[in-house]
Structures are given as C-alpha cells and as structure tokens.
C-alpha cells in the first residue's frame, strides 16, 4: 500500500508518494491531486524520491494532475525521481513535459 503525504507551504503543495505507484495507488494519487486543486492550490510538486516503482497508471495520474493544475492556472512538477522511475518518463518521452527537478524546495523557482 502506498503512503501519500501532503504538505502545503506558501501556496505550493508537496505530495510525497512512498512505495509503489501502481494501478491501485494511482487512483489514490489522482484523488489526492484533484482534492488539492479543488481546494484552491494549483501549484504542486510531486516528490518521487521515495517512489520505488511507477507504471503507466501512475504516469497517467501525474499527467491528469498536470492537466488539471494547468487548467487552474498553476502547474505540476516532479522532483527527485529514482533512475528506475526516470526510465518510465524517458521511455514515453514525458520527461520534456514533466521535467524532473533536483530539489523540492526550488521546483517552482524557474
């Protein structure tokens, strides 16, 4: 089972999925991201440092969150993916849309 920690600081929500982001966990992540955006925060960083596995459903949840965040005038950025998780982004050429950031705190600086 995945743990999804959410903290909000100065208008930026940080989501930390801990564990495997598979089909079941992706549904949870989708819901968490939707709740954050409907709650009025549209700038989101997903910290992937502790995400050990990401399949296409997990990627779908991130893309869904990215679209909703942009529609709400914000953005979704990812930070610190492990090399394994990074392969999923590069394989699907999603690394240009979801460009990984090295650091959570500065993910929205540029």
């Amino acid at each position: 089972m995945i743990e999804l920690d959410v903290t909000t600081d100065r208008g930026i929500a940080v989501v930390v999925p801990r564990g495997r982001l598979n089909m079941v966990a992706a549904r949870q992540l989708r819901q968490v991201l939707a709740d954050i955006i409907t709650g009025g925060t549209s700038r989101i960083v997903v910290d992937l440092a502790e995400t050990t596995f990401l399949d296409s459903s997990g990627l779908g949840a991130l893309i869904g969150g990215l679209k909703s965040a942009r529609q709400a005038g914000g953005d979704l950025r990812i930070a610190r993916p492990t090399p394994e998780v990074m392969t999923v982004f590069t394989l699907t050429n999603m690394d240009k849309v979801l460009r990984p950031r090295d650091d959570v705190g500065s993910a929205f600086d540029v």
Partner: protein, 405 residues
C-alpha cells in the same frame, strides 16, 4: 413433475448456457474456491461444491471436501435442485423416496444436502451451490439466509467469469489470426493480457507490397483499457490504406491522435503507439514512435538499433505532433516491438534489449521468439499486459548467391 429432462428445449437452452461457461471455468477457479471453502467452514459440513450439470455428467468447477472432479448426473440431488429452480434442502436423504436409491445415499456417504440453483445473466440455471454431509442436519432461518448469501456470491463470480471469458475471446479474435509470410519476410505477434482482457493491442497487414505493423498500449490494464484499445485499433486500422500507399506516418499519427484524444482525455488515459510501414521490395522502413520507446532493429551480427523518437503518447497534450523516421531492414535484420509488460519479465529492465536480442538471434522464426517470451512469462507471471511483434527478413539465400551446384 417437470419437463426439463435431457433433450427438452429448456434443457437444450440450459446446456448451451453451460457450454458457454466451459472455457471460463476450466482450470483454476480461485474466486469460487474461496466461497466453497468458506461455506464448508461456516456450516461445518463434510463437503461443499459448485456443481455444473453438463449433458449426462455433473462436474465441480470448485469443491471443498469432495475430492472428486465429476460424477454421473443421474446420481446427484443437484439434478433435482436445478430442474425445480429453487433451493432444495434435504435433511435426511435416506428417508426421502426421491433420493434414497441414489448410489451416494445408498452407500451412506450422503445424508444431508442443500442446493441452490445458480443462474447466468440471462436467467438460465447453469449450476448449483451445494452443501453435503454424512449425517442428518437442519438449516435454521439464519443459516438459510447465510446459505443464500454465499450462493448469490458464487452466482456473481460464475457470471463474471463467463462474461470475462467471452470478452477475452472477442479481444483475441481482433488480433491477426495467423502469421504473415511474404518471400523472405515473416511477421507474427502475440498479446498475453495480465487480466482476462487488456489494454495492449497489435496489428499487421499487407497492402501494395508494403507491410504495416503497429503495437499500442493503453494506460493501465483490464476492461477499461481494453475498451479504449479496441477504439484505438479501429482508428489505426482505418489508416492502413493511406499508410501502405505511402502517406507520411507522422501526419497519419497526428490525425489518429486528434481523433482519439477526446476519448482518452474523458477517460483520463493515454496511449503509446509504435507503427511502421516496411517496403518489402527493399526493406525501406518508415516508423513513428508515440511514447512507446520499445522498438528495435536487431541486425544479423546482433547489433541493436533502437527505433525511439522524441514524440509523446496520444492523449497527453491536445496540440502535439508526431514525426516520421526512417531506417532500412537489410537482409537478415529483424524488427522487434514490445509493450512495457515485457520489462516485468526480465531480471534487469535496463538490459531487456540485450536479452531480447539474444532471443531474437536464436529464433528461426518470429513464432520461436514469441514462444521464448511466453516461457519468460511462465517463469515470472507478468503484472502488466505483454505484447511482442516481430518482423524477420531472411538473409539472402537466393540462387544468385548460391555458388555450389
């Protein structure tokens, strides 16, 4: 008295319903086994079963404590329960003139019986959910309710497994039914869904000397992915004429993506695609990669050339574009396209193409390669749909290069 004996129209209809369950119920039935096991422990009876009456035999897609796979239909109480289409509780079969002559009753092994008919989604009785014991028993009102609940659960599982079994057959029938052979070229593919149906699809076809192949993977797995996959396959197949006539694959992919994106966005999904058009005359190959990243050309000496572009999957950004790339499949070259489920089958995902290249070079035909990947899937049951498509071009062995008489 009832007229539901073998050969009557109602029995024929019932038998047809049973026939359609067959494929779904042969093999492991874990979900039914859970229910028969639970019922045996809840009621403390010697045995429980889901019984299917099939022509003149009764067989047990799931049983707990019976230890047999089938018995003659004429020796069962289930036959009576199914014909009456209502719950039958026999507290002491030895004292019941309808049953005391049956072999299991006469030999003392079956005394108590409770059976509730199970219906398919059209209302046909296709089986019974049964309790058996070697001593006389009763079921009080509360136990009757529990028995009904467990039977209703078994019924749901039975219907679900038959519907999914049929869905799987339909999906399988959408894939090319046989390998394609043309001169030195041979093409074959396979798809092993992780669940009954899946979101992977592949297709190949020939038109005007041009081979058109494609592999698609809808996000996720299971029924929702399969529905979107069927739509995507139809959209791509509709471009077959244009692709084999020489239309730019990037333009075609962009058009297909435009038509699929609203569906994909509504269902919050996306689709990766690899598509290629190979001129069988000279091996000139045009290809497009929509976020698949899992295609490679393996040459005769084992060199791997990755056919991966920079374009994204369908359904991610509404105004995306796709670009055609080119390569040449020389004599002896092999084109292999996989879905990401294959990554689950190897020890080290980063080395998947090393493993695949070895398997590809060792294979005499595309079918050999598919069989090898199927073996991998048996060793490590996949968590995701597994698809492989292979195009082999034989090395030149024409009469012009043979120098021996």
């Amino acid at each position: 008295m009832h007229d539901d004996h073998i050969g009557a129209p109602a029995e024929q209809r019932r038998q047809r319903a049973v026939d359609s369950l067959h494929d779904a119920l042969h093999g492991d039935n874990d979900r039914l086994d859970r229910i028969t096991r639970l019922a045996r422990s809840v009621f403390g009876v010697a045995a429980t079963s889901v019984t299917v009456l099939d022509h003149d035999r009764a067989w047990f897609p799931s049983e707990s404590g019976l230890g047999i796979a089938e018995m003659p239909r004429s020796q069962t109480l289930c036959d009576t329960a199914q014909a009456g289409d209502e719950t039958l509780v026999v507290e002491d079969a030895r004292a019941d003139p309808r049953f005391r002559h049956l072999a299991p009753v006469a030999d003392g092994s079956l005394v108590f019986y409770a059976g509730r008919p199970l219906h398919d989604h059209l209302g046909n009785v296709v089986g019974t959910f049964c309790l058996f014991d070697g001593a006389a028993r009763t079921l009080d009102a509360e136990q009757r309710r529990t028995f009904d609940d467990l039977a209703a659960w078994a019924e749901q599982e039975l219907v679900a497994s038959s519907e999914m079994g049929q869905a799987r057959q339909v999906q399988t029938s959408l894939f090319p039914s046989q390998p394609l052979e043309s001169g030195p070229w041979s093409v074959d593919g396979m798809c092993l869904p992780a669940l009954a149906v899946g979101g992977d699809c592949y297709d190949f076809g020939l038109g005007g000397g041009v081979l058109h192949v494609g592999v698609g993977d809808v996000m996720g797995k299971g029924t929702s992915a399969a529905l979107l996959g069927a739509g995507a396959r139809a959209a791509i197949r509709a471009t077959h004429g244009a692709v084999t006539a020489g239309a730019d694959l990037g333009v075609i992919a962009t058009q297909v993506a435009r038509s699929l994106t609203p569906d994909l966005e509504r269902s919050e999904s996306f689709l990766t695609v690899f598509e290629a058009a190979v001129d069988l005359e000279d091996g000139w190959t045009r290809w497009v990669d929509a976020g698949s990243g899992l295609a490679a050309q393996v040459s005769a000496d084992g060199t791997i050339t990755y056919l991966t572009g920079d374009d994204r999957p369908f359904g991610v950004l509404p105004d995306d574009h796709w670009t055609e790339h080119t390569t040449t499949l020389e004599p002896g070259d092999r084109l292999v396209v996989i879905s990401d489920g294959v990554l689950d089958l190897v020890e080290d995902q980063a080395l998947v193409w090393e493993d695949l290249a070895v398997a590809t070079r060792a294979a005499a035909t595309p079918a050999d390669l598919l069989a090898e990947v199927r073996r991998w899937a048996e060793v490590r049951p996949p968590l995701d749909d597994v698809t492989v498509l292979a195009v082999f071009r034989a090395a030149d062995t024409g009469p012009d290069v043979e120098d021996s008489a």
